[in-house]
Amino acid sequence: MREAEVVVVGAGPAGLSAAVAAAQAGAEVVLVDQSLRPGGQYFRQLPPGFQGNGRPDWGTDEEKGRALLDDLSRQKIEILADTVAYAMVADKTLSLAQQTSSFQLKGQRLILATGAYERPVPFPGWTLPGVFTAGALQTLVKIQRVLPGRRIMVAGSGPLLYVVAATLLDAGAELVALVEAAQVRSGWRQSPRLWRSWQPLLRGLEYLRQVRDAGAPVLFNHAVVRATGDEQVRQVTVMRVDDTWRPQPGSEQDFEVDALCVSYGFLPSAELARLAGCQVEYRPELHAYVPVHDGNMETSLPGVFVAGEVAGTGGAGIAMAQGQIAGIVAANQLGYAGEPGVARQLQAARKGLAGLERFRDAMNETFALRPGIWDLATEDTIICRCEEITKGEIRAATQEGSLSSREVKLRTWAGMGPCQGRFCTHAILQIMAEVTEVEVSEIPPPRVRPPVHTVPVLAMSDLLAD
């Protein structure tokens, strides 16, 4: 088993910031990342063979991203790229897989910056090829420079929709429509906090202007209720929704598309934190379980930190500030008091974080998920994509007395496929809550079990040997 002073998992904005901050304070740092090149989803770098032309890849955060990657190369940080942290075998000890081999790595301090993924909302036709998450299209266009068709619709709710719509237009796609379930305009008016953070707000308005200039319809208070097509999506039905996001009868509009992307916010990738035994809490404003942490980003387990999206959706700015705080505090705990500059850095990060959090809270309020969205799935809509389990099957299992999420999982097999329940558990809990007439927060999700990522069986020999 290998050991290091500070081990950081994830090389996105939070993980990079944490690794750099801890190293600058003097700690020995190992940074573990799944990708070939650091950056995460937000600062994702072009693949080998591709060349940019020096123009910004990451919009207004270009300078921050470049600075972080420069700092990373300047510090003595060991980067374990193409490496999957798939299990937690003991206190602060990870099982790591590289291709078909594996080894264990113990950190005296462990910082989990494992990010988030998009929260899928099931609706009839959502499993058809040509229906993507919005993040998928952002990645395909920005990093792989490919469009999955010409006529593309962007739908769902949240800030990401506007970013993706602008990206698609830049790439030459025909934006069929931008469909937003929330009543965004009144949300902006109701949230004076937003006006204090004028920079990101202006950016959002700029994206919206770009969409309008392109002549694409912008439909607020609307949602995609159905995607149809034989082998792939061809037609999308959109309906007006009320304040609870329930479709209003008689408001159907059909659109012909080559592709559809849908996004309803994010779910934290908290699998490793939960496996470690970090306490999680249901955060109603995020509709998600988030590891409990203090102002130092330390979890309920001493010496284990979280930073970035895994600690609650907030965007790259918050992720970088949280990463910095976690990195500095972790190093401090190991006796690296750091130079006076480090203390100033910590203070600045805390101050910056407070402002960013006000903006985040206002955004979460504006785009808060409403319960009607869970009614889009009909009885025969697939909820668990991997095992092809429908809403009706999950409802029946609950009605027949499977009252814990674990029982429903064992009975229906929903959540047992290769995505390991990432894309269905939240929807299953919603269905169970509806059937049993309780709040969704009262139904605990099934336990997380290793491996939390699919790795070759050969690579798991260390788990089998224990």
Binding site: R55, T127, F423
Partner: protein, 114 residues
């Protein structure tokens, strides 16, 4: 379709051409592209058929949903969204209808409690 370098902001150049074989047909891809990109560039969306015969394609594009699994150089369940093309790579549609016919055990277990 591939985004032409003059259209996309910022523009970027692809790597060198790479020939791969998809379900027996030659396909030109470029170094740095994933299998998913090479297929989406040809407007091909369907990468897999489920046990119940439903078509599936790329969904999350970051390796988490596992919907884009294909057979690559004879190895099943390879994620097309993460796997970069290599010269001579042989890619096949994963048809799980034939897989479940060969090993009906899982279906039997699943239905046991119904």
């Amino acid at each position: 379709m591939r985004v032409s370098s003059d259209k996309l902001q910022p523009p970027a150049q692809r790597g060198l051409p790479v020939q791969i074989l998809v379900d027996g047909s030659q396909l030109t891809a470029y170094e740095g592209e994933t299998i998913a990109t090479a297929l989406l560039a040809q407007d091909r969306q369907v990468l897999r058929y489920t046990k119940e015969g439903r078509p599936r394609g790329v969904f999350c594009a970051i390796g988490l949903c596992h919907e884009c699994r294909m057979i690559v150089n004879g190895q099943p369940n390879v994620r097309a969204c993460l796997t970069l093309v290599e010269p001579g790579m042989q890619v096949q549609t994963l048809d799980e209808r034939s897989v479940s016919a060969a090993s009906p055990g899982s279906e039997g277990m699943k239905r046991r409690t119904d």
